[in-house]
Protein backbone atom coordinates (compact mmCIF):
# COMPACT_ATOMS: atom_id res chain seq x y z
CA UNK A 1 0.00 0.00 0.00
CA UNK A 2 0.91 3.64 -0.20
CA UNK A 3 1.32 4.16 3.51
CA UNK A 4 1.34 2.48 6.89
CA UNK A 5 -2.04 0.92 7.59
CA UNK A 6 -3.38 0.24 11.06
CA UNK A 7 -6.50 -1.62 12.11
CA UNK A 8 -8.87 -1.24 13.74
CA UNK A 9 -9.05 2.56 13.79
CA UNK A 10 -11.06 2.47 17.00
CA UNK A 11 -11.32 -0.20 19.66
CA UNK A 12 -13.43 -0.18 22.81
CA UNK A 13 -12.57 -2.87 25.33
CA UNK A 14 -13.93 -3.67 28.74
CA UNK A 15 -11.37 -3.71 31.49
CA UNK A 16 -9.76 -7.12 31.64
CA UNK A 17 -10.26 -7.97 27.97
CA UNK A 18 -7.38 -8.78 25.64
CA UNK A 19 -6.92 -6.71 22.48
CA UNK A 20 -4.80 -7.09 19.33
CA UNK A 21 -3.80 -4.15 17.17
CA UNK A 22 -2.50 -4.67 13.67
CA UNK A 23 0.05 -2.74 11.63
CA UNK A 24 0.82 -3.14 7.92
CA UNK A 25 4.02 -1.18 7.24
CA UNK A 26 5.05 0.24 3.91
CA UNK A 27 6.16 -2.62 1.69
CA UNK A 28 9.89 -3.22 1.94
CA UNK A 29 10.37 -1.18 5.09
CA UNK A 30 12.86 -2.91 7.34
CA UNK A 31 12.23 -1.08 10.58
CA UNK A 32 8.95 -0.98 12.47
CA UNK A 33 8.13 0.93 15.64
CA UNK A 34 5.18 1.06 18.01
CA UNK A 35 4.42 4.23 19.95
CA UNK A 36 1.74 5.05 22.52
CA UNK A 37 0.22 8.52 22.56
CA UNK A 38 -1.86 9.57 25.54
CA UNK A 39 -4.28 12.48 25.21
CA UNK A 40 -2.47 15.81 25.05
CA UNK A 41 0.98 14.22 24.98
CA UNK A 42 3.54 13.29 22.40
CA UNK A 43 4.12 9.74 21.18
CA UNK A 44 6.12 7.54 23.54
CA UNK A 45 8.29 4.70 22.28
CA UNK A 46 7.14 1.17 23.03
CA UNK A 47 9.13 -1.25 20.89
CA UNK A 48 11.21 -1.62 17.71
CA UNK A 49 11.64 -4.38 15.13
CA UNK A 50 14.29 -4.80 12.47
CA UNK A 51 12.69 -7.27 10.08
CA UNK A 52 11.34 -10.01 12.36
CA UNK A 53 13.75 -9.37 15.21
CA UNK A 54 12.48 -7.35 18.17
CA UNK A 55 15.61 -5.39 19.02
CA UNK A 56 14.23 -3.06 21.65
CA UNK A 57 11.21 -3.49 23.88
CA UNK A 58 12.33 -1.16 26.63
CA UNK A 59 9.26 1.05 26.30
CA UNK A 60 6.64 -1.62 26.89
CA UNK A 61 4.96 -0.51 30.13
CA UNK A 62 4.30 -3.96 31.56
CA UNK A 63 4.38 -7.65 30.76
CA UNK A 64 0.76 -7.33 29.66
CA UNK A 65 2.08 -5.77 26.45
CA UNK A 66 3.47 -8.03 23.75
CA UNK A 67 4.44 -7.32 20.15
CA UNK A 68 5.42 -9.58 17.30
CA UNK A 69 6.40 -9.38 13.64
CA UNK A 70 6.87 -13.04 12.73
CA UNK A 71 7.56 -12.66 9.00
CA UNK A 72 9.19 -9.27 9.05
CA UNK A 73 6.19 -7.49 7.60
CA UNK A 74 2.86 -7.20 9.45
CA UNK A 75 3.12 -6.56 13.17
CA UNK A 76 0.65 -7.10 16.00
CA UNK A 77 0.62 -5.35 19.35
CA UNK A 78 -1.26 -7.36 21.94
CA UNK A 79 -2.42 -6.04 25.29
CA UNK A 80 -3.64 -8.57 27.81
CA UNK A 81 -6.05 -7.84 30.65
CA UNK A 82 -6.52 -4.23 29.56
CA UNK A 83 -6.64 -1.50 32.20
CA UNK A 84 -8.08 1.99 31.98
CA UNK A 85 -4.61 3.49 31.89
CA UNK A 86 -4.03 1.64 28.62
CA UNK A 87 -6.48 4.00 26.90
CA UNK A 88 -4.47 5.87 24.27
CA UNK A 89 -3.74 6.07 20.57
CA UNK A 90 -1.32 3.38 19.47
CA UNK A 91 0.81 4.48 16.54
CA UNK A 92 2.81 2.24 14.26
CA UNK A 93 5.65 3.66 12.18
CA UNK A 94 8.07 2.20 9.68
CA UNK A 95 11.22 3.28 7.93
CA UNK A 96 12.94 1.94 4.85
CA UNK A 97 16.43 1.26 6.04
CA UNK A 98 17.90 -0.24 9.12
CA UNK A 99 17.03 2.31 11.72
CA UNK A 100 19.37 5.21 11.74
CA UNK A 101 18.89 8.36 13.64
CA UNK A 102 18.57 10.30 10.41
CA UNK A 103 15.76 8.16 9.07
CA UNK A 104 12.35 9.80 9.46
CA UNK A 105 9.45 7.66 10.54
CA UNK A 106 6.36 7.06 8.42
CA UNK A 107 3.40 6.82 10.77
CA UNK A 108 0.04 5.15 10.36
CA UNK A 109 -3.15 6.89 11.50
CA UNK A 110 -3.18 4.95 14.75
CA UNK A 111 -5.64 2.84 16.69
CA UNK A 112 -7.56 4.67 19.39
CA UNK A 113 -8.08 2.27 22.28
CA UNK A 114 -10.65 3.07 24.95
CA UNK A 115 -10.86 0.82 27.98
CA UNK A 116 -14.10 1.13 29.92
Amino acid sequence: GAGVSQSPRYKVAKRGQDVALRCDPISGHVSLFWYQQALGQGPEFLTYFQNEAQLDKSGLPSDRFFAERPEGSVSTLKIQRTQQEDSAVYLCASSLIRAANNSPLHFGNGTRLTVT
Partner: protein
Protein backbone atom coordinates in the same frame (compact mmCIF):
# COMPACT_ATOMS: atom_id res chain seq x y z
CA UNK B 1 11.58 13.94 33.56
CA UNK B 2 10.79 15.05 30.03
CA UNK B 3 13.87 15.14 27.83
CA UNK B 4 12.16 17.08 25.03
CA UNK B 5 9.95 20.00 25.97
CA UNK B 6 7.67 22.19 23.94
CA UNK B 7 6.67 24.84 26.43
CA UNK B 8 3.98 26.50 24.35
CA UNK B 9 0.91 24.28 24.02
CA UNK B 10 -0.59 26.60 21.42
CA UNK B 11 0.28 29.41 19.03
CA UNK B 12 -1.97 31.60 16.90
CA UNK B 13 -0.69 33.69 14.00
CA UNK B 14 -2.14 35.63 11.11
CA UNK B 15 -1.90 34.29 7.60
CA UNK B 16 1.22 35.56 5.86
CA UNK B 17 3.13 36.21 9.08
CA UNK B 18 5.92 34.13 10.59
CA UNK B 19 5.22 31.21 12.92
CA UNK B 20 7.97 30.29 15.38
CA UNK B 21 7.68 27.05 17.30
CA UNK B 22 10.20 26.30 20.02
CA UNK B 23 11.65 23.15 21.52
CA UNK B 24 14.14 22.53 24.33
CA UNK B 25 15.97 19.33 25.18
CA UNK B 26 18.03 18.16 28.12
CA UNK B 27 19.88 15.07 26.86
CA UNK B 28 23.26 16.12 25.48
CA UNK B 29 23.51 12.79 23.64
CA UNK B 30 20.77 13.81 21.23
CA UNK B 31 22.35 14.54 17.87
CA UNK B 32 19.47 14.50 15.41
CA UNK B 33 16.27 16.48 15.60
CA UNK B 34 13.06 16.22 13.63
CA UNK B 35 9.79 18.09 13.35
CA UNK B 36 6.56 16.27 12.61
CA UNK B 37 3.19 17.76 11.73
CA UNK B 38 -0.06 16.14 12.76
CA UNK B 39 -3.61 16.76 11.57
CA UNK B 40 -6.57 15.49 13.63
CA UNK B 41 -7.25 11.76 13.33
CA UNK B 42 -4.07 11.23 11.33
CA UNK B 43 -0.60 10.07 12.26
CA UNK B 44 2.32 12.48 12.43
CA UNK B 45 4.07 13.22 9.13
CA UNK B 46 7.72 14.15 8.82
CA UNK B 47 8.36 17.80 8.06
CA UNK B 48 12.03 18.70 8.40
CA UNK B 49 15.11 17.60 10.32
CA UNK B 50 18.53 18.81 11.37
CA UNK B 51 21.74 17.13 12.40
CA UNK B 52 23.72 18.45 15.33
CA UNK B 53 26.62 19.29 13.02
CA UNK B 54 24.49 22.03 11.48
CA UNK B 55 22.79 25.06 12.95
CA UNK B 56 20.24 25.64 10.21
CA UNK B 57 18.30 23.64 7.67
CA UNK B 58 15.85 25.12 5.21
CA UNK B 59 13.17 23.52 3.06
CA UNK B 60 10.88 25.91 1.26
CA UNK B 61 8.82 27.85 3.80
CA UNK B 62 10.20 25.81 6.68
CA UNK B 63 13.50 26.47 8.47
CA UNK B 64 14.81 24.74 11.56
CA UNK B 65 17.45 26.40 13.72
CA UNK B 66 19.56 24.54 16.27
CA UNK B 67 21.43 26.14 19.16
CA UNK B 68 23.42 23.31 20.71
CA UNK B 69 24.88 25.32 23.55
CA UNK B 70 21.40 26.31 24.66
CA UNK B 71 19.92 22.88 23.81
CA UNK B 72 17.23 24.70 21.89
CA UNK B 73 15.73 24.40 18.46
CA UNK B 74 13.04 26.28 16.66
CA UNK B 75 10.91 25.84 13.57
CA UNK B 76 10.13 28.90 11.48
CA UNK B 77 7.30 28.91 8.96
CA UNK B 78 7.30 31.84 6.56
CA UNK B 79 4.80 32.81 5.30
CA UNK B 80 2.24 30.96 7.40
CA UNK B 81 -0.80 29.57 5.61
CA UNK B 82 -4.14 28.34 6.99
CA UNK B 83 -3.24 24.81 5.85
CA UNK B 84 -0.33 24.90 8.27
CA UNK B 85 -2.80 24.73 11.16
CA UNK B 86 -1.91 21.48 12.92
CA UNK B 87 -0.08 20.08 15.93
CA UNK B 88 3.71 20.23 15.57
CA UNK B 89 5.89 17.75 17.42
CA UNK B 90 9.58 18.17 18.04
CA UNK B 91 11.50 14.88 18.28
CA UNK B 92 15.10 13.98 19.09
CA UNK B 93 17.25 10.92 18.71
CA UNK B 94 20.82 10.01 19.58
CA UNK B 95 23.45 7.71 18.21
CA UNK B 96 23.87 6.26 21.69
CA UNK B 97 20.35 4.84 21.66
CA UNK B 98 18.45 2.53 19.38
CA UNK B 99 18.71 4.57 16.23
CA UNK B 100 15.31 5.69 15.07
CA UNK B 101 13.93 5.58 18.60
CA UNK B 102 12.83 9.16 18.88
CA UNK B 103 11.82 11.05 21.99
CA UNK B 104 8.93 13.43 21.33
CA UNK B 105 7.74 16.62 22.94
CA UNK B 106 4.08 17.09 23.78
CA UNK B 107 3.38 19.24 20.75
CA UNK B 108 2.35 22.79 19.94
CA UNK B 109 -1.00 23.44 18.29
CA UNK B 110 -0.56 26.07 15.59
CA UNK B 111 -3.58 28.00 14.34
CA UNK B 112 -3.12 30.20 11.30
CA UNK B 113 -5.97 32.67 10.90
CA UNK B 114 -7.02 33.80 7.41
Amino acid sequence: DQQVKQNSPSLSVQEGRISILNCDYTNSMFDYFLWYKKYPAEGPTFLISISSIKDKNEDGRFTVFLNKSAKHLSLHIVPSQPGDSAVYFCAASGSDTNAGKSTFGDGTTLTVKP
